[in-house]
Subunit: 358 residues, 2 copies
């Protein structure tokens, strides 16, 4: 891909649903926003970080907050552009491209909409190659890059700028502001140069997202080898197929937290539990963790192949539990320390991808 | 006064203690900060709003947060200047003077320190002529002036800028950020021109504060007519003299809330209760309100004349309960609606100053 057209949006939305791993919120409104922006402004060039002026400023964008709130408060459409132009004003310079912070959920689509509106290319990269529930869980943070200044814009056009002395503090202050904003905002964080993105962003993330989406669409359309192709393209595996027998979901401290329990569909008497904090973080069977963060756990509707968010889960749903390996940088010791299960308060070690249950 | 010297600080501190009406926190650290600034940079010109370029930007400053926290987190000294220079950067223009938002507690002293450091005059005015626990309780808000942009700087050099579409939202977002900052910050809010301050600020507030302080110092020094002079200068009255028999204090939602109950010292079997939210807001006897916000209720140690903050109250203390009338603008219907007892959740009407119990 060297540009993103309106025809790419269905696949990107599906891929973003898989990479959202339960978080990211319903993509309905972000999808409308990006389709409207592309309809009005035409295709957006998709560029590599190395294609841009190395000293040029990239405008990074993500959805911030608890996905639970996304169903209650709709974006009005102006937030992404407002956040990025406020960042430009604050820094006193213009951006040369828009960079997605994460390629999960609405955070994948809004940067494309903003790029269309600002007449800028979007960069085929991100900082997570998935969604994560906290803004410091990025390869930029691993590289020592400041998340500040962070610009937050809410659905009522209120603006907050955070300049913290370290990234965990930035996350804490931004989360407090987002909670007061009704638990949802568009955030511009980690302003970097194209050279910094070339060195530290995860290259090809939007292409990867679109590729996953095309495979999911093939599954939805009944392609016989749909899952085989998806697993081959991603190195993923299917760890469980089951029916929801228990669901526990609450909004706490700006996050949607909970667990979903599945009984298997084959009468084998197996039970899988998935723990989530916005995103699915741990999948375990009989107390034995099978897949843990930073690897990806996505729940797909068995019949339709649709990636499910934690908000759309319901008792009795039949789901395919798909696991994808995280980008290899996440598997290094500092990656595991930052984004492994202990970082989320779980008293268990990271399980190497495929380490159990194969 | 046409300048503020280091010799004016004791009286200003005492006056600020009275006008803090229990809030504003212990003035110890702000006093050290302003004395250090005046020692280093010399006296600060004290000017009237009309003395300045009408289009010139005033840099307004206040302490924000729960006074309870002031005893635990000390300002490092750089916050006032950091907040005002961040405001200048954000607005893209330089200030011509520093304006206190309130003349209660540390909020009186820090603007003087900042003015000394920035080489600017301080304006002899404020927007409350007292302390209030919420940033929208100002004459500027009554005049329809936006509190945004609000710049907050905490004791660890973190910075938050809030640009809200209305002042109650600005207050809510700023309070959420301040709470995440450890419940204390220095805030620059309501940036105005000198012409706006000339029209809508309360003129002479720093002089008034110093005058009150000089009378309190006379009381402390045992002047026979000390209270008489204080009451004559302010139109105030002493509503009670008693001993603390009950004290109830908690930190809630970024505020110090509670009640203090006094039994009278004359064996007359009278009991007075004062309700506070950072500041003392209602004083009542046997369920009958005697003095209510926006009028001022200050508790002074009977022996030493020292104005007490809610944090320094303790069982058995003997206190003089001093009531001062609010600035007349507060007594107009919109002033009562904004800052009267119902605005703080009390189910009672404003009691005209001196209306009961005389």
């Amino acid at each position: 891909m060297d540009e993103i057209t309106i025809d790419d949006i269905p696949a990107l939305t599906l891929g973003a649903g898989v990479l959202a791993t339960g978080g990211g919120g319903e993509p309905f409104v972000p999808r409308l926003m990006v389709e409207e922006a592309l309809r009005r402004h035409g295709p957006v060039p998709l560029v590599q970080p190395g294609d841009l002026d190395p000293d040029g400023l990239l405008l990074p964008l993500a959805v911030v907050g608890a996905p639970t709130a996304f169903a209650e408060r709709f974006f009005n459409g102006s937030e992404p552009r407002a956040a990025l132009t406020a960042l430009e004003r604050h820094l006193g310079r213009k951006g040369v491209g828009v960079l997605p912070i994460e390629v999960g959920g609405g955070s994948t689509l809004l940067p494309i909409a903003a790029a269309a509106e600002l007449g800028l290319p979007v960069v085929d990269a991100d900082t997570m190659r998935r969604a994560f529930p906290r803004g410091e869980l990025t390869h930029f943070h691993l590289a020592g890059i400041s998340a500040s200044p962070i610009v937050l814009v809410d659905t009522a056009d209120n603006l907050v700028i955070v300049e913290a002395t370290d990234n965990p503090t930035a996350e804490r202050l931004a989360r407090a502001a987002t909670t007061a904003m009704g638990m949802i905002a568009v955030g511009a964080l980690y302003p970097v140069t194209a050279a910094q993105a070339a060195a530290h962003a995860i290259h090809g993330s939007l292409s990867y997202c679109a590729e996953i989406g095309r495979h999911v669409r093939a599954i939805q359309e009944g392609a016989a080898d749909g899952y085989t192709a998806l697993l081959a393209a991603t190195g993923g595996r299917i760890v469980f197929t089951g029916k929801i027998v228990d669901l526990n979901r609450r909004t706490e401290g700006g996050w949607a937290r909970g667990t979903v329990t599945l009984d298997d569909l084959d009468g084998a008497n197996r039970t899988l539990r998935v723990d989530f904090q916005n995103e699915n973080l741990v999948a375990g069977e009989d107390g034995l963790p099978l897949v843990t963060t930073p690897d990806l756990i996505s729940l797909l509707d068995v019949e339709t192949g649709t990636p499910m968010t934690t908000e759309t889960l319901g008792y009795g749903q039949r789901l395919t539990v798909l696991a994808l390996p995280a980008h290899p940088r996440w598997h290094e010791p500092d990656g595991i320390e930052l984004a492994g299960p202990r970082a989320f308060g779980y008293d268990l070690d990271y399980v190497p991808f495929g380490g159990h249950g194969e």
